[in-house]
Subunit: 378 residues, 2 copies
């Protein structure tokens, strides 16, 4: 660590350090930083009191080990941590300024925004060489290489660029624009976003932080409609995703995890005869599950999933990866079939994404989702 | 990138590079590496054919952009990627050996194990300065600083060490042991693990890759018992976690996501009177939910959750963070109350972990879980 600190200070004016501020013996960032630059560690009383208050609020007793987290290099400026126990600190050395932040991502991100960036801007005295603005466009249903082909002529001038990132089962696009001021950068960014959306159509389902379940929730609210689920292979994942959104009780009524066949009968009213004749992973059962959930929960719309996520359970006729997704509404029910060549967890994730995307498209009166080649011919 | 490659080569004998091997324009690792060390990029025919076969297996057409992924620096040795499109490569330069791997974590990890480590061992010619062995002990219900206090006298000699890592809602311990051969390192590791387990008792719920839901599944199988769930605030997360485990259909029957009160009545047979009298987040309703799920799904055991995950929905009497968890068995039902000071997603995660840990402890005939101070007094 000493070597890394010295190298970084030689190469850079600002050094960001994350992690190693915790209460345990393997958390040594501040001790090593202090030693490297010939400082003592000093007990910082306000940080100790803030930590005691944090534990009191959580109704827990502070452990003796936590005291260590209030030891800071002499001369350091404290960076407050509003959501955790470890404060950060800023230390100026002759060669560079060090910002030390906790490794817990949510604490680090919050402190970066509230404590570090404002200090960096102040140190620069407001001088900026132009402005950069970026967005995140979330796409589902098109491979990264096909996205590149579709967008190959966009973002080819010096003011804009386009990044690609896989975030299974999605692919994210990162348009970036530069300008001499905020208005110019934002105008370039919006023009690029509009060009991408025009090219890709409904493959772009959202922007920035908005997840697919949030998009569905927004559309359901706008339409004044409610939804329920009947899940077999996804085992609760669809319900979990709907209810991860604050306020989802306005449109999500609930659901049934019908993992065993007996549960499909008792909770969704599916007949044993239908199950025996077609098997649980079939179009009629996917439709009956969606219809059963819609009726029993009194919802406007219902989604269902039944599939073979693997690794076991496949047959020549119904291979591992097969899934049927059902959608019921006041216009009746439909089911679509896919074979998704993924391991168990990714199969479930992709299935839940296809179901949510179908719901989104149906609320927008668009055709159902496709996924390059993975849908079986009817 | 050129600067980083040159610095790394000066400092190290082996350089591991991850990411930038994809089909899109921002994937530039191999082009820059080749240029930095004065090599041309050459089309590697076997990799192109492997990629074509990969797409054919997935039933998809290969995009022209993918061809770029078969361009490798001349003189490079191909590292095969059995689960993705981008091959890796090993390039020897006068100062260091570069291993370039895809950034997708599951592809990187598999290739590290199968392609990179064996080559590193071969290059060392079997010479090793001692052996290191480590384990991961998974704990739930004790803070990181209290773990440090409890274990403060362990792993204090030069042959062993102990690392700590927060992985909400768990805390992981990483005991590490060194020895002159495998037997010595493993004996030291096992002695340290045994000492930790003796000190912490049931707070250690698992080791290495085994998750809490897998531990529950193993115990349910061993006891020949089945389980069902009735979820309100967790919204499907408990079912999702049970069914994430391959083979869970042997013991997990299914469940009900009773998010709306009407769903609690229609799917679990809870009376409107009970809901009106006590409210949905209450001991009687948590017990009735667990009993309803147990009875309707015909399970030996059932878990229920009902709480206020926030950010809205709290009252002075029932604050945000409050949760009741129920457990029903042939001996009747019980419910326990907690106030968990976490944001929505962490509240749901901690609730599901408490429920699973209670199930684990009940199968082992241990008392229910505690979480430092967060349980309300009865």
């Amino acid at each position: 660590m000493r070597d890394a600190f010295l190298r970084a200070a030689r190469r850079s004016d600002l050094v960001l350090v994350s992690g190693g501020l915790g209460p345990t013996r393997d958390d040594r960032t501040l001790a090593v930083l202090a030693e490297t630059f010939g400082r003592e560690l000093r007990l910082h009383q306000p940080s100790l009191r803030a930590m005691e208050a944090f534990f009191a609020r959580a109704g827990r007793e502070m452990s003796p080990s936590n005291r260590k987290q209030a030891l800071l290099p002499e001369g350091a400026e404290v960076l407050e941590n509003p959501i955790g126990t470890a404060p950060g600190c800023m230390l100026e050395t002759p060669e560079a300024v060090f910002f030390c932040l906790p490794g817990v991502p949510r604490e680090l991100m919050r402190m970066m925004e509230e404590e570090v960036v404002p200090r960096i801007l102040r140190r620069q005295g407001g001088r900026m060489k132009g402005v950069v603005r970026s967005a995140l466009l979330r796409t589902f249903g098109m491979g990264e290489s096909r996205l590149e082909d579709e967008l190959s002529d966009l973002a080819r001038d010096e003011h804009v660029s386009l990044g690609f990132r896989t975030a299974f089962p999605d692919n994210y696009l990162r348009p970036v624009a530069r300008g001499s001021d905020v208005a110019e950068a934002e105008a370039r960014l919006e023009a690029l976003c509009a060009a991408i959306r025009e090219r890709l159509g409904p493959v772009v389902y959202g922007r920035d932080e908005e997840t697919l379940e949030e998009v569905c929730g927004r559309l359901l609210c706008a339409a004044g409609r409610t939804v329920a689920v009947a899940e077999s292979c996804t085992g609760g994942l669809l319900g979990e995703r709907f209810t991860a959104v604050p306020g989802s009780s306005r449109y999500f009524l609930g659901g049934v995890v019908a993992y065993a066949n007996a549960a499909k009968c008792s909770l969704l009213g599916i007949s044993q005869r239908l199950l025996s004749r077609h098997g649980a992973v079939s179009e009629p059962v996917a439709r009956a599950m969606a219809e059963g959930a819609r009726q029993r929960l009194g919802a406007d719309l219902a989604l269902s999933t039944t599939g073979i996520s693997g690794p076991g359970g496949g047959t020549p006729d119904k291979p591992v990866g097969l899934v049927w997704i059902g959608l019921a509404s006041d216009r009746g029910s439909e089911a679509l079939e896919w074979v998704l060549p993924f391991d168990r967890l990714r199969h479930r994730l992709a299935t839940s994404q296809l179901a949510l995307d179908w719901l989104r498209r149906s609320l927008l009166e668009l055709p159902p989702p496709r996924r390059d080649g993975s849908r079986r011919a009817p």
